[in-house]
C-alpha cells in the first residue's frame, strides 16, 4: 500500500477540488479517492464518511457510535484496526465500535480490504477496516501550522469544534488535535424529537515523531476519547460515560537504495484501555435501576517488513501478537431487595498470535500475481473462578479454547489495455468465534429482543470467497465495478433455545450462539468519477448484497441496494454540489432476528463552500442542507426503526494557518 507523504497531505488539507484530490491519490485506488472526496467535503463524522464507501454499511443504534460492516460481514467477522492496532470495544452490546474513537481530523485515510485479501492483519472472513492516523509533518524548524474548525447543525443544535496544530523542529515534529462535539436530540422528518439521541464527547491526540536517522523514525502516539453522554434511542440504556486511552510507539526504517533487498521495516508496540458505562438514569419509567460497566484492555506488538528479493518480487510480511482482556457486568437494583449482579462478559483473556503477508510477482507491465496468506493461533481463557462458575451453567467447556486459523488467497491483476485493469481474487478464509459468541452471558440484543448466550464449543467459521473487479481510468474518467461471492460454512448465528428463561425484563426469549451449516453472501459494488468540462464533477457509488442460508432464508442485517450520486461544480475557490442518496426497499428479511420490511427512500443534499485568503491563512466557509425533502426514513440496519434526521442545515468554518 503506497504511503503518501504526510507533509504534502497536511498542507493539502481540506481541499474541495476533486482534481487536487485525484492528484494526491495518484497511487491510490478508487476507494481511497472516495474516502478523500467525502472527507474533504463535509463536516462529517468518520461514520458519515464510512457509510458512503461502496464496501461498507453501518449498523445504527444511536445518533453516534455506528458499527461498520464490510459487505454485510459484521464485527466478529472483520478486523477494525487503528494503524494496525487491535482495539476491542468495552460494550457487550457493541455500542462502541473502534471507529467511535477516531475523529476525521486525526485520520489520514481509511483502508478497506475485502474478504479474500483482508486477512493479512488478522484472520477474518469479511475483511479489514484499517484507520490510518495522521502523522506529524517534519518540515523546517519552528514551522507551526494547523487548522481550526467550528461547525453547527440545525437539526440537533450540534456544535463541533476542532483544533489541530503541527509544530516542526529540526528533526522532529508534533501533531496535536482536539475535537469537541455536543449535540442535542435531533428531529426526524416528521419534526418529532427523537428522545435519547443527544451526545457529548471530546477527543484529543498527540503524536510526536523523531527522525533518529534520515530514514529511521520513532513515533509516539496517544489518543484519548471521553464521551460524557451518548444517547442510544434504539436501546433501553444510554452510555453514561465512555473513555478510550490508546497509546503506541512505532519505529520505522526505510531503505531507499533502489536495489536494496530490504525496503522497509516497522515495529509497533501498543496498549489501549477502553471503559464503558451504560446508564439508564435518563430514561423514564425504569422499573429498576441498572448499571452495566465494561472494560477492555489490549496490548500488542506488530512487526512488518517489506522485502524485494528480486526485481519482480515484492513481499510484505507481518507478525503480530495481541492480548485482549474483557470484563463486563450488570447490576440491577430492585427496591427493598438485594442487588442482582452478574458477569455479562465473564472475565476472559484472548491471545492472538499470527503471521501473514503478501507476495507479489510482477510478471510484466500487464500482469501481476499476488499470494496472500495468514496463520493465527488464538487462545481464549476465563481468568477467574467466578467467570468459570458463570459459564459452567451452560457449558462444561470452562478451561479455555484454542483455535488455529489459516487463510490463503491468490489474486491476479491483468492490465489488458492502458486504461483497463482486471483483477480477480479467490481464497479460503477462517475466523475464530468472538469472546461474546463463546462466553457472552445473557447479552440483550434490543434489535431482535433476545438474550444471547455464548457457546464455547463453536467451531471456526470458514469461507470460500471469490471476487472480480474491473477498473477503467483515463484522465478525467474513472470507473470501477466489483462482484463478490462468499460461501460460508458453520456460519455463527443465534438460535432460539427454549430451555433457557430470559434474563432481561421484556425479552422475547433466549438465543444461543450456534452454527448454521451454510450461508452465502454475494453482491456487487461500483463507483465512477467523471470530470466534465473542467469544472463539473460527477461521482457515484452503488452497492448491493444478497445473502441467504442453505434453507434459502435471508441472512439478517443485509442492507438493500443503495445508490449515492454527487454532481458538483467547483471553480477556483467556490464549490457547489448536490447529492442524491437512494436506497431500495429491503424485503428479504430474517423474521427470527426481529427484522421487518424497510421502505426505500431518496434523499437530496446540497453542499457549498468558499475559500477566502486571510493573509497567510485561508478561511474556508462551508454550508449545506441535508435531507432537503425532509424525508421521514430509516435504513434497514437501523435498530428499532428509529427514524433518522429530518432536514438539517449545517455551516462550518475552517481556518487553515
Amino acid at each position: 500500500m503506497a504511503q503518501i507523504d504526510s507533509t504534502e497531505k497536511f498542507q493539502e488539507s481540506q481541499s474541495v477540488n476533486l482534481h487536487e484530490v485525484t492528484l494526491h491519490a495518484a497511487a491510490q485506488n478508487q476507494q481511497q479517492r472516495l474516502v478523500h472526496f467525502y472527507k474533504t467535503n463535509t463536516a462529517a463524522t468518520l461514520e458519515d464518511i464510512l457509510s458512503r464507501l461502496p464496501e461498507i454499511n453501518m449498523i445504527r443504534r444511536g445518533a453516534y457510535g455506528m458499527e461498520p460492516t464490510i459487505r454485510s460481514f459484521s464485527s466478529g467477522q472483520i478486523n477494525v484496526l487503528m494503524d494496525g492496532m487491535r482495539i476491542h470495544g468495552a460494550c457487550t452490546d457493541k455500542m462502541d465500535p473502534a471507529t467511535i474513537y477516531i475523529e476525521p481530523s486525526n485520520l489520514e485515510s481509511v483502508q478497506v480490504t475485502t474478504g479474500g485479501k483482508g486477512f493479512i492483519h488478522g484472520s477474518s472472513i469479511g475483511g479489514t477496516l484499517n484507520m490510518k492516523m495522521q502523522e506529524p509533518a517534519i518540515t523546517k524548524k519552528g514551522d507551526v501550522h494547523g487548522q481550526f474548525q467550528s461547525g453547527y447543525q440545525s437539526i440537533n443544535h450540534a456544535l463541533y469544534e476542532s483544533l489541530k496544530l503541527n509544530y516542526s523542529g529540526n528533526r522532529w515534529a508534533a501533531l496535536a488535535t482536539a475535537t469537541y462535539r455536543k449535540a442535542n436530540n435531533y428531529k426526524d422528518g416528521d419534526k418529532n424529537e427523537v428522545a435519547h439521541s443527544a451526545f457529548e464527547k471530546i477527543n484529543y491526540s498527540l503524536s510526536v515523531k523523531h527522525l533518529l536517522q534520515p530514514n529511521l523514525s520513532l513515533k509516539t502516539d496517544f489518543i484519548g476519547d471521553d464521551a460524557f453522554f451518548i444517547g442510544y434511542p434504539a436501546l433501553p440504556m444510554d452510555v453514561g460515560y465512555a473513555s478510550a486511552r490508546i497509546a503506541s510507539v512505532t519505529v520505522n526504517k526505510k531503505y531507499e537504495r533502489l536495489n536494496a533487498v530490504l525496503k522497509e521495516w516497522q515495529v509497533k508496540g501498543y496498549y489501549n484501555y477502553i471503559r464503558h458505562f451504560m446508564d439508564d438514569t435518563q430514561r423514564p419509567n425504569i422499573p429498576m435501576h441498572m448499571d452495566m460497566p465494561g472494560n477492555s484492555r489490549t496490548m500488542g506488538f506488530v512487526g512488518i517488513v517489506q522485502v524485494r528479493p528480486a526485481k519482480k518480487h515484492h513481499i510484505q510480511w507481518q507478525t503480530d501478537i495481541a492480548k485482549t482482556r474483557l470484563y463486563a457486568s450488570m447490576t440491577m437494583y430492585p427496591p427493598n431487595e438485594a442487588p442482582m449482579f452478574m458477569l455479562t462478559w465473564p472475565d476472559n483473556s484472548r491471545t492472538q498470535f499470527g503471521t501473514g503477508g503478501t507476495w507479489t510477482y510482477t510478471a510484466n507491465q500487464q500482469f501481476k500475481l499476488q499470494l496472500n496468506t495468514r496463520v493465527d493461533h488464538i487462545l481464549t481463557n476465563l481468568t477467574t473462578q467466578e467467570a468459570k462458575d458463570h459459564v459452567s451453567i451452560f457449558s462444561h467447556a470452562t478451561n479455555g479454547t484454542a483455535y488455529t486459523t489459516g487463510n490463503i488467497s491468490i489474486q491476479g491483476m491483468y492490465q489488458f489495455h492502458p486504461n483497463w485493469r482486471w483483477n480477480t481474487t479467490a481464497g479460503y478464509a477462517e475466523r475464530a468465534p468472538t469472546a461474546s459468541e463463546q462466553y457472552g452471558f445473557y447479552l440483550f440484543n434490543s434489535n431482535d429482543g433476545f438474550d444471547y448466550i455464548g457457546n464455547p464449543s463453536l467451531k471456526k467459521e470458514r469461507a470460500i470467497q471469490a471476487e472480480t473487479n474491473i477498473q477503467y481510468s483515463k484522465k478525467q474518467h474513472r470507473f470501477s465495478f466489483t462482484a463478490h461471492l462468499s460461501h460460508i460454512q458453520d456460519y455463527v448465528m443465534g438460535m432460539i433455545d427454549t430451555s433457557f428463561s430470559t434474563m432481561t425484563p421484556g425479552a422475547r426469549g433466549v438465543k444461543r450462539y450456534t452454527q448454521v451449516s451454510d450461508a452465502t453472501i454475494l453482491g456487487f459494488e461500483g463507483s465512477s468519477a467523471h470530470q466534465l468540462f473542467k469544472h463539473f464533477n460527477f461521482i457515484q457509488t452503488i452497492k448491493y448484497t444478497y445473502a441467504l442460508t442453505l434453507d434459502h432464508e435471508p441472512l439478517p442485517g443485509i442492507a438493500p441496494f443503495k445508490w449515492i450520486t454527487s454532481a458538483g461544480y467547483s471553480k477556483k475557490k467556490f464549490m457547489f454540489r448536490t447529492e442524491m442518496e437512494a436506497s431500495a426497499a429491503q424485503k428479504r428479511i430474517n423474521l427470527l432476528s426481529g427484522e421487518d420490511v424497510t421502505n426505500g427512500f431518496v434523499l437530496l443534499h446540497i453542499r457549498t463552500g468558499y475559500q477566502f485568503p486571510l493573509g497567510q491563512m485561508k478561511l474556508h466557509v462551508l454550508a449545506g442542507v441535508e435531507n432537503i425533502l425532509n424525508k421521514f426514513y430509516h435504513e434497514h440496519n437501523d435498530w428499532g426503526n428509529v427514524p433518522r434526521s429530518g432536514r438539517n442545515v449545517y455551516t462550518q468554518l475552517i481556518l487553515h494557518f
Partner: protein, 273 residues
C-alpha cells in the same frame, strides 16, 4: 565482574533464605482441631469419666440442619478420645409439651480428633428450650454417661427449615436445606434432608418422596437453566444441583411427590446472596 559476583551472592542468599524459611514452616506445632469452630455447649458427662464439648462452624446455631463437632476427653487425664460410640438426644421443652427432632449420630471414629454429627432443629428457641443430650461411653472403662446442655437456636433471616402435611397420606414431613451453604453465581450443590414425624419423639429420615426443585427470581420472573433434580442418596438426603445465573434474591420452589401423587407443592426456600 565485581557486580556480577555481587548479584550472584544476592541471588544465592535470597534462595537459601526462602528455602530455610519454608523448611521451618513444616515444624510448626500441631494445629488445634477446634480452631475456627465455635464452642456452643460443653461439660461433664455424668458417670462416664468423660467431658463433652460441642462445636459449631458458626457462633450461632440456627433453625435447620446443623453440623456439629464433638470433642470428647478423659475428664482426669485430658486425653482426647478418638474412638467411641456417641448417641444424640435433642429435645425441645415447650412447657406444655416436649418433642425431639431429627438427628444424625456421629460415626464412632473421630476425624482429626472430632466426631461429626448433626441435629435438625425444627424450630427456634423462642418457643421453648432446646437441650442436646450427648451419650458417651468411655472406651477403657466402659462407663456410660450423658452430658446435656441447652442450646440457643436462632431463626435465620431466610428459613432453611420447612414442614408440610402430605396431601397424599396426611403425614407431617420436615425438610431442611443443607446446600448451598454459600451460594454463588454458577452451579451450586443442592442438598435437602427429608424427615417424617413418626411421633413426637421420633423423626426418621424419609426416602419415599421424590423432590423437584425449580429456582426462580421472583423480581425478574425468570428461572435458570440446566438444574439437576435432587435424588435420594441415603439417610433422607437428596442431592442435586441448582444454578444461579445472577446474585440477588432467588426462590427455589419445592415439589414433593409420592410416586405420581402430589405430596406438597406449596413450599419453597428463599436464598439471597
Amino acid at each position: 565482574m565485581k557486580r556480577h559476583i555481587l548479584w550472584m551472592w544476592a541471588i544465592v542468599c535470597t534462595t537459601s533464605a526462602t528455602f530455610l524459611f519454608s523448611c521451618s514452616k513444616d515444624d510448626a506445632p500441631e494445629a488445634d482441631p477446634t480452631s475456627g469452630l465455635h464452642k456452643i455447649s460443653g461439660g461433664y458427662a455424668t458417670g462416664s469419666g468423660l467431658t463433652v464439648d460441642v462445636y459449631s462452624a458458626s457462633p450461632n446455631v440456627y433453625t435447620g440442619y446443623q453440623r456439629l463437632s464433638f470433642l470428647i476427653k478423659d475428664s482426669i487425664t485430658g486425653q482426647v478420645i478418638t474412638e467411641t460410640p456417641i448417641t444424640l438426644h435433642p429435645m425441645m421443652d415447650m412447657g406444655m409439651m416436649q418433642h425431639a427432632s431429627p438427628y444424625e449420630n456421629p460415626a464412632p471414629v473421630a476425624i482429626n480428633k472430632l466426631f461429626k454429627g448433626s441435629v435438625v432443629f425444627i424450630m427456634p428457641s423462642t418457643g421453648g428450650t432446646w437441650t442436646l443430650g450427648v451419650r458417651v461411653t468411655h472406651p477403657v472403662t466402659g462407663n456410660t454417661g450423658t452430658y446435656s446442655g441447652t442450646i440457643n437456636v436462632i431463626e435465620p433471616t431466610e428459613s432453611k427449615m420447612k414442614s408440610f402435611t402430605s396431601a397424599f397420606n396426611g403425614e407431617r414431613y420436615f425438610v431442611a436445606l443443607i446446600d448451598p451453604e454459600q451460594p454463588k453465581i454458577g452451579i451450586n450443590d443442592f442438598e435437602v434432608a427429608v424427615y417424617k414425624r413418626a411421633n413426637m419423639m421420633s423423626f426418621p429420615a424419609d426416602s419415599t418422596l421424590s423432590v423437584i426443585h425449580t429456582p426462580e427470581m421472583p423480581t425478574m420472573g425468570h428461572g435458570s437453566p440446566n438444574n439437576v433434580q435432587p435424588v435420594h442418596m441415603g439417610k433422607g438426603h437428596y442431592k442435586g444441583k441448582v444454578n444461579f445465573t445472577m446474585s440477588g434474591f432467588w426462590r427455589v420452589h419445592m415439589d414433593y411427590m409420592h410416586g405420581t401423587e402430589v405430596a406438597d407443592t406449596t413450599q419453597y426456600f428463599d436464598i439471597t446472596f
